[in-house]
Symmetry: C2
């Protein structure tokens, strides 16, 4: 098959994926939406989600407009001619800036569209899943999972269509960096903002509701209860979706850029040198096909184990993908080294997922140990959880290092640049994104369904079914979260290599030997960014939670009818505090993400910037793993005690475990996963602006 | 002056320093030791310290014997001839192994001797300082500070004598790596072991004493009270002393190794190419002289501010050192670039000390914010403290990066290798070690004095004076801790450069470009070691505290007379649990420190090992700063509330702050500072074994 044919196949399957998503959207929307009472409650959640999305998209619009204009100007005008002899690759073509800026806007639009579809259906599916739970576990599961699949399928569809179109029109993978940066800008706002939103609402609702006035979780008398439920969607649907969309696109564009050099030395397929550039899209196409099939296997059998259903779906999709990729390799005469790289990424992603599960599963030693230690008070709970979180880094890092080396040497052994192998391993990991995201977005939907079932008093049996579905979501989440972080790690390693490749294309050789002090200084600065960034997000959570706690208290004081149940609280105020607080708090972190790498590049040179990116990746991956796993561990430690161990609910151990869980909340849902986005944005900014930096930097 | 003359001056001043230490030892011992009651209590502490030291030195003896024999064998036998063409530098000389092994043993002995003197006088001075406090603040301060100076002066004296002698006998700075590794072996056991000991006792004593049975701190009825007081000495005198001794020696040996190459290109002084090798010892000599003078200025004036007295002493010593070094530079015709490098290190060390103070001082925003947030419960205290701890990394990292660049480019500007400048900056930072350690060792002595004053009921006024002295110790500690970490950071950066220099001497060129996947894998593995190491130490603390808690409870159960005050508890049991627990828990962390770098080197090659060292330095410095500063911040947050803010002692805010302080204990006194030792040991092992690794590695 020629390159053009592959591109049209990719677009074709992208359209099918998007169409499939819309069909599922329609199917879920047609399900029974229940009676007036539950519709009213779901209505508040929908309303809150709409209010947040409006603010989010406005902020995104501003960010995209500003950055878009800057990109258009910088890449259109021949700014370098007077400053340096070294000219831009793109400088002769005044349209290059417009194309890059358009690609940037398109990236943000595609991610925004997928997120919008996912959010819209999530806030409809929660209600419909709860209503379906009256009939049984399986119908409720199907509604939630198919709604989750809307996000998964829409994401991969729009991403592949967008990337393919840009490549067809410009023929230059570096322009796609703009598309990827657009997706990253969306991810930065949606993931970090969503993370702050959801934990602000969660902590405030718990501290006043459960602790101060003693009403249960998901009680409609709590003014923050709707914000809390909106937060689940905002953080885990819109945020998580944008985050994985971002990694997915970035891995493809990094591999495409690395493929340019490969095509000049090794040809495959029908001998077209562009084959290796387009090959990442071929893998995406195979991944989509595997996902379509895999989704069919996600069913709850008669034994009713939704957690197993989700995990089986993931594993089956992996197997199908591996089989299809291998068949294609032999049918198409592709490069075997590249196939091995692909499979290395895939296998290690699954292994890391299971390692993460070990550290956060309540049937394993770490969670049980933390639960047991909770008997000695909350300080010991914290120390033990932090310690296990730090130890949990080890297997994942071994996996990432192993995948990197395996992919590199497999490609080299078959005559292809090893760096390209690393890029392809990242694409291999992310090829099954469609199914991963579907399983992940299922979580907040059933969490919401449980809330709606409780708030509208659907009865014990329905609530219990929703609870079973919810636990399954948590099991799936542990695995997909490990997957997301390791995929992001391999993606930024590929982007890191792409940064060198872009510079090489300009005739600038990158030397990031750690023995050079300017590189060392760059690494130290880069290594400092992820911890500082995560600290800013956590401080934003505590600060906004403080404001919301005051709001809840003042509503209770001003209108005593709320607690008696005779008067409705003002849900919208809490949603508004969470929304504005989250987006305002993002200004400084966004500056770190966008301005700091540019400042390092312009002031200290391209080598220092290379070191900076390396440093941010090292600590970024470590802190992301540490924070996510500690958080998951405390969460499940608390649930383990609530299941009746060590004195059960209300015991001293339980109180200590609640402290652990509250500390873990911003760890696992705000700071940890947002670090992925940070390092991706910094890597993309650096690669995209590499030509400008190389021309204008003070250190040459 | 010739090189030999400089060496004899260094040894001469080293002997003076040691003599000064012994004179102060005698002076402190002659002070009034009070009556029978306080002597009995101090006797228990002395007894406990002796019991711990016996176990510590036994463990050290075993470790030194095993490693010493290995070193002697490897460096004496010509193991490589059959395996590789590349021969050892030392292989032709069968005595080289014996020399290196002797140097190794001598390093452990010198550090052990200084620590022994420091500990012996500390457990005498505590009692004598408490007794002197009956007369007034100033006499008590003098006893404690002069006792602290015993450790400081003994340390620099033995270090300089040891290094000079080895250089005189072998003429090879690489042999001194053995001496440095001996000091590091001692530091690993003393610092990490002492850190586990002290926090095991502290947490257990508090959780049972204060929380369960409700007796005050330092109550003689608590079976763990002696272990707790012994712990202060063990962690903050023996451990901290060994840690800084370790950095001091390592910085000197790194600079000496880097000086070999410099002498071949630039000559100074009387033109001897060995000038740059010996110059670090010249700086140490100047530093000792400055310390002798600086110590005279540490006096409490009539206004009675011991904290200011300690800090003034440090600043005055810095100024004297800077003046002396500058005078010497112009008188001796030394290299101005090297002078600038020296001063850059010194200035930045002081600046970083003050930055650390900002984040842990209760008159500043971070501590006050954490205290205020404590009103919302312990989870918020933890999140806020962790966040500020993470942010506190930034100024120190900027300082370290700035010092590195300044030292590098200053040296280069004056025709000397920039890497040598970095080594000299580390020596410059550590030149005033004598005063720093004196001020630091003062802390646990007055802490103990307060305990003895309370336990032997010396009366309100005496206890209050001891309390004033104790707070001063905490203020000084914040600054010296920031100093210790930044000095260690610059030292390991110099050792890192020395590793490359050693390989270069063997004809092996080191290429640690981050674009090479084997280097990337090395960095990722290295970056994982400090977090995992610190987690193991923290788990050891919680595990041992658990055992001790059981012991205390069983003593209270079995002998009800203890709580009535009619029967003495079995103090020795708790001391024994803390001692054995600490040293047994060290086996796995020690394996990480010693075996992992060797494994990486032999399996993945010298480039990967270079990356590994780099990675361990990046996260090592970050985690050390983060953990130390968070811990200090929580500690002072609690004290701020105890001073009457936000409801004062017993309030909800206070309870939350106590949780923060307990989490911070192993952070700041066990895990954080031990990381310094870890990265130093790993760097030294790598440099020392570099010839063997280069010859035998699987990857060439």
């Amino acid at each position: 098959m020629t390159i053009s044919m592959w591109l049209f196949v990719a677009i074709g399957l992208g359209v099918v994926s998007l169409g499939y998503a819309l069909a599922l959207y329609a199917w879920v929307s047609r399900q029974n939406a229940g009676g007036e009472r539950e519709q009213a409650i779901a209505g508040y959640i929908q309303e809150g989600a709409r209010a947040y999305l409006t603010k989010l998209y406005t902020a995104l619009g501003v960010l995209v407009a500003v950055l878009g204009v800057i990109i258009a100007l910088i890449f259109s005008l021949d700014m370098t001619r007077s400053v340096a002899e070294r000219a831009f690759v793109l400088a002769d073509n005044p349209w290059a800036g417009i194309w890059t800026a358009l690609a940037f806007v398109l990236g943000a639009l595609c991610s925004g569209l997928a997120g919008f579809l996912g959010m819209s259906i999530a806030v409809r599916a929660n209600l419909r899943s709860a209503v379906a739970a009256k009939l049984g576990l399986n119908p409720a599961f199907r509604v939630a999972f198919y709604a989750g699949a809307v996000l998964g399928l829409a994401m991969v569809g729009t991403a592949v269509i967008g990337i393919s179109l840009i490549y067809i029109f410009t023929g230059n993978p570096e322009t796609i960096l703009g598309f990827s940066l657009g997706a990253s800008a969306m991810a930065l706002l949606a993931k970090a903002g969503g993370g702050i939103f959801t934990k602000t609402a969660d902590i405030a609702a718990d501290l006043v509701g459960k602790v101060e006035v003693g009403i249960p979780e998901d009680d409609p008398r709590n003014p923050a209860v709707i914000a809390d439920n909106v937060g689940d969607n905002v953080g885990d649907v819109a945020g998580m979706g944008a985050d994985i969309f971002d990694s997915y696109v970035a891995s493809v564009v990094a591999a495409m850029i690395l493929g340019v050099g490969v095509g000049q030395t090794a040809a495959a397929g029908d001998g077209d040198p562009r084959f290796y550039v387009v090959f990442p899209l071929v893998l995406c196409t195979v991944g989509m096909l595997a996902s379509f099939i895999g989704i069919q296997f996600v069913r709850v059998g008669r034994d009713g184990k939704p957690g197993a259903a989700l995990n089986n779906g993931t594993v089956i999709t992996c197997v199908i993908f591996a089989v299809l990729a291998t068949l294609l390799n032999y049918a198409g005469g592709f490069n075997t080294g590249v196939l091995i790289s692909t499979l290395a990424g895939l296998v290690i992603a699954v292994l890391i997922g299971f390692c993460t599960d070990y550290f956060t599963n309540d049937e394993r030693r770490p969670v049980q140990q933390v639960a047991a230690m909770s008997k000695s008070g909350s300080a010991i709970t914290i120390i033990t959880g932090l310690s296990y979180g730090l130890i949990s880094i080890l297997p994942s890092i071994l996996g990432i290092a192993g995948a990197t080396l395996a992919a590199y040497f497999a490609a080299e052994a078959y005559g292809v640049s090893g760096i390209y192998g690393i890029g392809i391993a990242a694409v291999g990991m992310l090829s099954i994104t469609g199914v991963i995201v579907s399983a992940d977005a299922y979580g907040p939907i059933v969490d919401n369904a449980k809330g709606i079932a409780e708030m509208s008093e659907m009865g014990h049996e329905v609530v219990e079914r929703c609870d079973t579905l919810d636990s399954a979501g948590n099991t799936a989440k542990a695995i997909t979260k490990g997957f997301a972080i390791s995929a992001a790690a391999l993606t930024v390693l590929a982007l890191f290599a792409a940064y060198g490749e872009v510079l090489e294309g300009l005739g600038v050789s990158l030397d990031i030997d750690l023995q050079k002090p300017i590189v060392l200084a760059g690494v130290l600065l880069g290594a400092t960014c992820p911890p500082v960034f995560s600290a800013l997000l956590m401080l934003a959570v505590t600060k906004n939670a403080f404001v919301m706690i005051e709001e809840i208290r003042s509503q209770f004081r001003a209108r005593p009818g709320i607690l008696k149940g005779t008067e409705l609280p003002d849900y919208a105020r809490c949603v508004s505090i969470a929304s504005s607080g989250a987006l305002t708090s993002l200004i400084l972190p966004a500056v770190i993400a966008v301005i700091v790498p540019l400042a390092v590049g312009f002031l200290m040179g391209t080598d220092a910037l290379g070191g900076f990116l390396g440093g941010s990746i090292f600590t970024g991956v470590i802190f992301a793993l540490f924070m996510s796993n500690s958080g998951g561990l405390w969460d499940n430690g608390k649930k383990y005690i609530e299941a009746g161990h060590h004195g059960g609910p209300g015991s001293e151990a339980h109180k200590a475990a609640v402290v652990g869980d509250t500390v873990g909340d911003p760890f696992k849902d705000t700071a940890g996963p947002s670090i992925n986005t940070l390092i991706t944005v910094m890597s993309l900014i650096s690669s995209l602006f590499a030509p400008v930096i190389a021309a204008l930097t003070l250190v040459k």
